[in-house]
């Protein structure tokens, strides 16, 4: 089971691969759409890669609730617990 810091670092790596954004710009309070300019299709690619990396299942209907990076880190941490 990963710590929140480890999840954030892993997520930043996935976001970087999909969008080219610097990993350090992926911070807990950043909004995926408003701050990081990630569209819904890129978001799905990130979600699928996160599922694989962290061994969790993120259902489609849950994805729209993941507004900030912190939301995603929290969801993944809970799903791993």
């Amino acid at each position: 089971m990963a710590s929140n810091e480890e999840i954030l670092a892993g997520l930043a790596e996935i976001v970087n691969e999909e969008t080219g954004l610097a990993p350090e710009s992926v911070e807990m309070d950043k909004s995926f759409t408003d701050d990081l300019d990630i569209d819904s299709i890129s978001m799905m690619t990130i979600v699928v890669n996160a599922e694989e990396k962290f061994g969790v299942r993120i259902p489609d209907e849950e994805v729209k609730n993941l507004k900030t990076v912190g939301d995603a880190v929290g969801f993944i941490a809970n799903a791993q617990a």
Partner: protein, 347 residues
């Protein structure tokens, strides 16, 4: 008392696609045209979907008209007479009658009567469903030559104000003739459905809702209005994207495995032209080698549902005639949800 021995149709070992024909309607709708109806830009649409233009048919051109043009071209390419057809299959979801079928009228127009004729409702997988059935018919001796048409006039079922799918859609038709072969020409079909996701791509109204609302005295519908009663398409884009890439990449791999080949053996990949980002991500998931030509007809043609694979195949063969006779992986997926994939020898 001995019972009589039943005679069954003789089996045929191999099948192939004998000829391919298409029809592209000539009204070109650009992204700038689309941006009159939705708040967007050429750049945004190209980046999100890969689409620059779509072809749409004018009001007087029907699904059957487009199917006929593609079918005549396919018969000519195959050097087959319509009278030799043992079945006529039309995959479409935009023939505007629940019955009678488009296929029966198409068979009549072509001079294929009394060939059995019926429509297939499998949306964007319709062409691959048609190939699966035609292949089985020729194998089983049910028919010698089978015409398979994928045709859509999606422009009749769009809402210009809709941002989920309407702006992706185009019209067109593609047809092939499937028949006997001396060598294997169509690999095993990997096809299926998942009706639990029937709402992922859907129509806004059922015919019964339209009946009940019009009986209740609701104002007549217009095709342009968001609140229109006229049934138009909608989709949950991210859900469809996820399913289309990660689930369909598995199906595509199964089709390669079933055909006993690997991605290295392909000369072309002809996926349903839904969105260029689905196509690009599938190429990545399947680890297709660089020598495999990837169909990207969507840039000019938009998403034409059942017509997209034969249209894309035709363009690929026009631009790269040396691909003829090589192996192509084709996969269709869409509303249902439904999917179908085969490896075929390019005609």
């Amino acid at each position: 008392m001995s019972s009589p021995t039943l005679k069954q149709s003789p089996l045929r070992e191999h099948t192939r696609i004998h000829g391919l024909g298409i029809f592209r309607p000539d009204v070109i709708v650009t992204n700038d045209d689309v941006c009159q109806w939705i708040d967007s830009s050429d750049e945004w649409i190209r980046q999100r979907t890969g689409i620059a233009t779509r072809h749409r048919a004018n009001r007087d051109t029907s699904v059957i008209d487009m199917a006929e043009a593609a079918a005549i071209a396919a018969l000519r390419d195959a050097n087959i007479e319509a009278s030799q057809l043992g079945a006529v299959l039309v995959s479409t979801v935009t023939h505007p009658y629940a019955t009678p079928s488009a296929a029966a009228q198409l068979a009549d127009r072509l001079g294929a009567t009394p060939a059995p004729a019926y429509d297939i409702s499998a949306a964007c997988a319709g062409y691959c469903y048609g190939i699966a059935q035609a292949d089985a018919m020729v194998h089983a001796g049910t028919a010698e030559y089978v015409l398979v048409v994928g045709v859509e006039k999606l422009s009749d079922f769009i809402d210009n104000a809709d941002r989920t799918i309407s702006f992706l859609l185009g019209d067109g038709a593609g047809a092939v003739v499937v028949g006997p072969s001396d060598s294997p020409g169509i690999g095993p079909s990997v096809w299926g459905s998942d009706g639990s996701k029937h709402e992922a791509i859907r129509m806004t109204h059922s015919l019964l809702e339209i009946r009940d609302l019009s009986l209740a005295g609701t104002a007549p519908a217009t095709a342009e209005s968001e609140s229109s009663l006229w049934p138009t398409m909608r989709q949950d884009g991210p859900t469809v994207f996820r399913w289309a890439v990660w689930e369909m990449a598995k199906v595509a791999q199964q089709a390669l495995d079933a055909a006993g080949i690997s991605a290295d053996d392909l000369v072309a990949f002809v996926p349903h032209q839904a969105n260029i980002r689905i196509i690009d991500e599938m190429v990545k998931q399947l680890s297709l080698p660089g020598h495999v030509a990837v169909a990207r007809d969507i840039v000019d043609a938009g998403n034409t549902s059942a017509a997209s694979i034969p249209l894309a195949m035709h363009r690929l063969l026009q631009e790269n005639p040396s691909l003829k006779g090589g192996l192509a992986l084709q996969i269709g997926f869409g509303a249902g949800l439904v999917f179908g994939a085969q490896v075929v020898v390019l005609p």
